[in-house]
């Protein structure tokens, strides 16, 4: 297990370096002058020169990158071109919102998806057909579209949950949960259907296994077989899938945060992109990469706990 964590750590450093380096390399391919692209045709020569200096565009690429990387290692992600604020501070302030959304939607996907999948594995007929129908809808409709419908429904028709905005848990834990309900719902629908379908297949596979027949022959009640043995065996592939849905919830948050306007990293990076504020894009990129790394690590650990064979093999 320790070796696994170490290997992951090394891979993670490689990953952060590779993804940020890629952005730097891309920047060098920009046709024409990046400073001109960023500031636009009307910029004064002084402003252009200042920006080139600030971005280090006058120096070779590897120097620029090395400087940024060593800064990042000290926790300095540079400053926003647009507002001049430190990127690290901007990112830190908004991290909680996006992590709340991601963790919340992963939990919802896990609980609802697994329950639905298990249910439709044992109940043929309408449960399965309903799941298939909902899956098609969840697959076809983009999350941001579903999000807008939710906003419209809850902003106009019924006002149970706040349609937009975000309340930090430090202000009001109840308000925090209520403000998460709609964005988490919009973020979770696609994931729920994917996990439910996978769970149904895995549970059916487990139910057809020899050990289930022998457990039944031993007299173990069906409910216990389902909730302990089948669930545990189906959990192994489902965990891997949950890791993937958590990562895609992170991408989804970028879109969803522009619908429900909680002040998260997704909203930050979108506005920064529209303003060509690259230090912020890079900074959010680093944070996203770290979150992905943590998710993968958690999946590996969960996999080891759930699958005794994997524990021995590694």
């Amino acid at each position: 297990m320790l070796a696994l964590v170490l290997r992951r750590a090394v891979m993670s450093i490689v990953l952060v370096v590779v993804s940020t380096l890629a952005i730097f390399v891309l920047m060098s391919f920009v046709p024409g002058d990046p400073a001109l692209t960023i500031l636009g045709e009307n910029a004064t020569p002084e402003a252009l020169e200042r920006l080139r200096e600030q971005l280090g565009l006058n120096r070779p690429l590897h120097e620029q990158y090395a400087e940024w990387l060593f800064g990042a290692l000290r926790g300095d992600l540079g400053t926003s071109i647009f507002s001049g604020e430190p990127v690290a501070k901007l990112v830190w302030l908004r991290l909680g919102v996006t992590v709340s959304l991601m963790v919340g939607s992963t939990l919802v996907i896990a609980v609802v998806g697994i329950a639905l999948g298990l249910l439709s594995a044992v109940r043929e007929g309408w449960t399965g057909r309903l799941l298939d129908a909902v899956s098609l809808v969840g697959f076809a409709l983009p999350g941001f579209w579903i999000g807008i419908v939710l906003v419209a429904m809850f902003a106009v028709a019924v006002r149970i949950f706040p349609a937009t905005g975000y309340i930090p848990p430090t202000v009001s834990p109840g308000g925090w949960l209520a403000s998460l309900v709609l964005p988490v719902t919009a973020l979770s629908i696609a994931g729920i259907t994917i996990v439910a379908k996978q769970m149904r297949d895995s549970a059916r596979d487990a139910l057809s296994r020899d050990y289930v027949r022998v457990l039944r022959a031993t007299g173990i009640p069906e409910r216990r077989i389902l909730l302990l043995h089948v669930l545990r065996n189906a959990a192994v592939p489902t965990t891997t899938l949950l890791g993937l849905t958590a990562v895609s919830a992170l991408s989804g948050a970028v879109f969803i945060e522009n619908v429900f306007v909680p002040p998260g990293l997704g909203a930050l990076v979108t506005s920064a992109t529209l303003r060509h504020d690259l230090p912020i894009v890079l900074g959010v990129g680093v944070v996203f990469a770290i979150i992905v790394i943590v998710i993968n690590l958690l999946v590996d650990i969960a996999y080891g706990v759930l699958n005794p064979k994997a524990r021995v093999a590694r």
């Binding site: 891309l26 020899d210 027949r213 991408s251 522009n258 996203f288 990469a289 993968n296």
Partner: protein, 643 residues
Amino acid sequence: MSTAPATAAFATPPRRRIPGFAALFLRKPVAVGALVVLVLLVLAAVAAPLVAPYDPIVQDTSATRQGPSLAHLLGTDVLGRDLLSRIIWGARDSLGGVALAVVVMLAIAVPVGVTAAYVGGRVDRVIMSIVDVVMSVPNIIMTLAALAIFNNSMTAAMITVGVLASAAFSRIFRSAVLATRRELFVSAATVMGLRPLQIMVRHALPHAGGVVLVQASLFAAATLGIQTGLAFLSFGPPPPAPTWGGMVADASKVLATHPWMFIPTGGVIAIATLALGLLGDGIRDANAERFTAPTRVRGLEQNRAAVDEVVPAAEEPLLAVRDLTIGFGDRGALTVVDSVSFDIAPGEVVGLVGESGSGKTVTALALLGLLGGSGRVTGGSIRFDGRELAGDRKAFAEVRGSGIAYVSQEPMTALDPTVRVGAQLIEAVRHHDGCSRAVARRRALELLEAVRIREPERVLRSYPHEISGGMAQRVVIARALAGRPRLLIADEPTTALDVTVQAEVLALLRSVQRDTGMAIVFVTHDWGVVAETCERALVMYAGQLVESAGIDDLISRPRHPYTRALLASDPHGARRGELLPTIGGTVPSPADWPVGCRFAARCPLAVDACRRAPIALVDLGAERTSRCIRIDALVAEEKGATA
């Protein structure tokens, strides 16, 4: 799906020509419909200037925010622009972007995946390490970075999406090609001296092509979500240029007052996404069917044999089975076990013998109410200890484990691989005894000692994969004993074990039987097991009981030609240097059972009368029965052989 066990075990699917990929695909109306929708969308986008009824950016202030009408089929937006025309023109941006990303993805992923699979070794490892890293890169951020750097260019964003996705798809294509490498024709091509590149291009690629098509359409569906999402966030072509995502954003601003606009703009995205997804599903199914032709269970009416006489038992039976009939398939239409009757007395050890396909395992599982798949008891009665079980789920649930227990053939798959041995034993003990964990643990240790496991503490802590097959079978037996059953059904309990372990497990079962006085039904094809352990044996053939007798009588004086043939082909009785006799032909599958004697086709003694009508079980006295009308000829041959 649900009929698979029946066909696998009992019917040989008829060989038929497997149709080509295109033919299989065209049989799927949903997938074909999806393809038609996509083609229409693409054609509309290409021919936008010809098909769009209005200019997409011309505003008509006299006709703003309209619902659908003849003039504007999908209505108009806030500025009075025709929505249908904007959707048609917007398809260029959305579908064009998706197509670009797919082309970029395929251009990288196919060569990389195929190379990794074919070259293998170090190249493969290096490629896969790079793929691992790229797969973990947060795609959305890289795409946004590309937008920031390349001045909101949707082209740059879509190329980035394609490049980043190529990592994951390289991995998928690599496994697809690796799978085809194992196919026979590729090794044949290697033997014929084709160079690896030739093999790759001519054979492996077309074979893995189905996978590529499926993945490409699913990736296109996902990319359409990203593309429209980015346009929704106002990346890409600036207004007033029409984009699908941008139109959703426009519509969302007036959603509360003019909800209609939201329907066609989101609807076209949903339709295109759905079409891509369903197309992928269709290709996948068609591709899968190319390699596994569908089989169908034929629901033939069975020719029922004459009602059989009951096999008498000496004592009050513990288990009384009468005319047990089991069917598979739709409403049990395909009979696989036909009017089987027998008794098991308390403490009796009985063999249930037959070849694969004789119905012996299905009969055994029916006694536990555990017929898998579409199997069901379609007639007859199963009385255990005076209580009717057939058709009564609750009664079965109460009897299982405590009345009738079960030991299966393959010990390594009989235990849940994710749960420790101890937990599985304790679970069974607690279910039957309703005791505390501590008490259950003590009893679990006793059970392990009872099945002669030397280090019970260590085994309790082990996972199933950490113990040997023989040990696992002892654990399975120990768990079967947890409910103190009065009848144990052992389905080929030693077949999967090493020869030395086989003898130990048999000895164990015998001694447990002596100690507990429970009855055992041994389901087996092994005469050695029968001779060593059973007092009596029931021989099954093609779903019927064909002979039953005390074990010594049966082995020395079989009274059914099938029993005789089965005994003769047993390797235990073979003499050194002599050819082992085999029974010609195979057990007929349930759909092909003849009207008369089912063994007639393989029987050296068969005459016309055998084939004419169903043969009834004949009581031969001395607790023997046989389903044969040629017993005289059999006895004559036996006398001739011994004389």
